[in-house]
Symmetry: D2
Subunit: 302 residues, 4 copies
């Protein structure tokens, strides 16, 4: 595919653009939209079968996108509302129960800001497994058993990320794995507005300057929920868009992109703030979902 | 000008591209190139008069560009060599003398990585003025009298940067001001390779998401040397380049850019490392120049 | 005085300890205590005259101490309540009005965690002066005109802190200066629990490894409110306490301290969290006071 | 033991102090001292048998202490010399060979500065295992196969540190494990001067505010080299020293410490610089030892 994006929503928008005249849902796709408090728009895309996979180029499953307005302008209370909306959607995929066990994995490199969403988020999760061990508890009605892992990147550990996660799974035996990672998008305007949740995990491909290994039920043997925020965009997509805007054909654009390497991924200049704000929002949303008795109306401000 | 760049070298390259058939120097411009140790290329462009100012769209003066190879790959000793080359060029603009007094100003916002080059560099300069005060010394043969200022950005202080610098000048009465700032370039490949020194100061214009005030002999009343590294690029320039590559005319490109706002500046994903490495190199180069007795062969590793 | 503390409350406790049998207020001192929400204790000490100054060894004026419980344990909502309590006390010293102008100064070194409270806090203040300039407004009923300054420390700027603040005052002409700084305490248990506000400014003396210049109406020519948190303690005070506990006389202790240099100040190992939390609390309290229309019930989470 | 220290050197100094009149080596102990370049003093203590273990309260093995002068004052080249001295001592414990495999583990919490030595150091190690995998190499004469792990602390992962390290060992099958960790000392003057290397690993006990699990050949099944720097001191030891100085008996001191809890560990106020400098020195020393072909005379300046 000539465009690189990890967002199912952008794939669907492209498909719709290239098939302007069709009516109703795409075969093999169900989608719906809901708006909270005027500033948070939730789009739920379900890829039902092979037809849907082909149309959007993503594996079958649920993809929920939150688009948040006014975050960077520091609009009052928007972070708290975003956390609640995220917690609500996440709660549908991971219903709370007395003996729920979860491993939260922060994918990426905490030394490289655009790649640091995962590590930052994981470090803000309320970890409880050690408390369950100390009190020899098999469960709880207020909080669930949560452990965390920041596996690092192959380039700075020399260890395959998926391998290390599998070993951590052997230790903590979670029912669900939540993997938080930075994503790539086509549209830089998404970098400080969008969160994607899916229940298929992280698909293999090029991540930030390193090959990304698949993290899914296939590779980890556990249900895998992925949560991500676009933090990088391909220079190529900026260019491809502009070319199409001036009426070049897809073939011409593809030919150009093939001939002119634009490996270099770029990011927004407000990336520091993006990572800070979105790691707060996601960590808080996860805490609300996994510890409903504690985090109902409280921010994970750290 | 349709392209945004703070680099005189890129302006000259554009001029040459648009005037392929001309021979020899551009009228009103003198330029020369020197290569050190195979991996550091120094280009010295002097804009002599109005003709040169018109051709390159920059005020008359000296613009020295260092292009450094293999920095991000951690090539052995390249940082040290780059500091020495920088110190050598800077030493021609600021000859050391017994009673030299300098104010080093770190322009930008240390909370926003691509804008943090100035503050990071200033915090690594060997400051000596307070020592001269304590020992009531009027000068020294090993080190000179250096003070530093990190004025912050208007948005986070509410105070005009130039105003605050002027007041600091009133206090320390320097002969020369060195202003370190992040720059914008057309070509993202320059973000982790290029340093520009000039003796005209910082020209007004859009800096990183804030209007930039002129810092020069005009506004500060002191000789002003500016040192900068490209850390941001206009999305627009990426696109304009691609369009020209596929044979669109300048007019078409200008028309497109006019119609499609691309205010958003982007940066490289390795920006954290770029700021860390270049602030080390520049601070060390400045220390070598202003404190020749101490820093001859030593790195400012902090 | 054998003990080093910047807290009027600790001075009073020492005085009371050394004068166990006296009844009622200390001559020249008025003090009162109030408790909010069980976990925030406010003590207001007013030093009325020379007698009080002699008794506590601090200049006449108001000293308000907030003691906050459960902050480090992340007790729910305690940060928000602390900000409101701080805002309430601060509001008595700085009543809001249409044309109020304030300069917030962050004293200290942001590269040295225990000394970074001032810079961290100042960087979280809602700065508005540039907006008033843009809209040519002479005042506002929702927010007031606030500017900020992080002057750095003499060792890293070579410029006298008070000098630079005076110049900034010349530019922004504030009615009040709020100076935020790290403090020294006797009791390490105060390091993550205590905030002191006073209306006399910062008295000269040894700050964190550098001589501290007086910042007050005397030196700045403006009403000066100081807000501080203990982040360092003298090793000496730990020892002196222990000696008294085992029944050594004051003379013996003083003799020991005189003979054994314990210049080295120490800090708590949770200092990173202390600086993060207290800079949030203080910045939010200041924002509530200076921008009542915006910050009534909102956290400055940045 | 009434004093808490992780340094064998301090244990020996205590023993010597309490046995002033004895001559020659302590039974079961061999020790020697060497000075490099005037500013680096190396003390090698070997605990030979049970008698030595009893005398110093540490398990049998080699304990090498480097005491470095003038580091905090930024003395020229001292960091480089310290790295070389460390590399030399480490090289005796881990001789380089073609197919050497090492796992470097950074123990501690990178969010808590005094506890961040391990994570900071591990992140500066030249990791090579992934390169050996890509090139399917079984060894090399210039560099050896190194992987790294930053396991985090139980409180923020919920996973037992030793468990996770064991799993990483299963993956990378190293011959040697190097564990880098923050240490506790009695004397705060050691916090910015001392490095200890041993070949017995990390003994169980209280680490920074968390119980520390044993990391040794026993628990990991691999030779384990520990490298540490004192970053925390017990308030208790400050007090105990002072009491002894004023002639209290050991029994009195022990009684006092037993009755007065001083759990609170304190650290030096220059801890940020200490962690930055020592992680550079240790990482570089490890790189020199494990990659002799690359790092002979080069600093790991990152």
């Amino acid at each position: 595919m000539k465009y690189r994006t990890d967002l199912a929503l952008e794939c669907k928008q492209l498909y719709d653009k290239e098939n302007k005249d069709r009516r109703g849902d795409i075969p093999g796709i169900h989608s719906e939209t809901e708006v909270f408090d005027e500033d948070i728009k939730v789009t739920r895309i379900e890829i039902l079968d092979k037809r849907g996979e082909l149309a959007l180029g993503k594996p079958a499953g649920n993809y929920i996108t939150l688009e948040i307005e006014g975050l960077i302008d520091g609009k009052e209370g928007v972070k708290e509302r975003a956390s609640e909306a995220l917690g609500k959607e996440l709660g549908k995929l991971i219903p709370f129960k007395y003996d729920l066990k979860t491993l939260v994995v922060g994918i990426g490199n905490d030394k490289v800001t655009p790649d640091a969403l995962g590590p930052y988020t994981a470090s803000k999760i309320k970890i409880t497994r050690h408390l369950f061990l100390i009190y020899e508890a098999d469960g709880d009605y207020e909080m669930s058993c949560v452990s965390g892992l920041i596996p690092g990147v192959m380039g700075s550990t020399g260890i395959e990320t998926a391998e290390l996660i599998k070993r951590a799974i052997d230790i903590v035996a979670p029912e669900v794995v939540i993997a938080v990672d930075s994503l790539a998008a086509r549209d830089i305007a998404r970098v400080n507005t969008t969160i994607q949740i899916n229940d298929v995990g992280i698909s293999p491909g090029k991540g930030m300057g390193n090959v990304r290994t698949e993290l899914s039920k296939n590779t980890l043997g556990r249900r895998t929920i992925a949560i991500g925020v676009p933090t990088v965009i391909d220079a190529a997509t900026l260019i491809a868009d502009a070319m199409l805007d001036i009426g070049r054909s897809d073939d011409e654009v593809e030919k150009y992109l093939a001939e002119n390497q634009h490996e270099l991924v770029v990011t927004s200049t407000d990336i520091d703030l993006v990572i800070k704000d979105f790691s707060d929002i996601i960590a808080n949303g996860i805490n609300i979902t996994l510890h409903p008795g504690i985090y109902k109306n409280r921010s994970t401000d750290r």
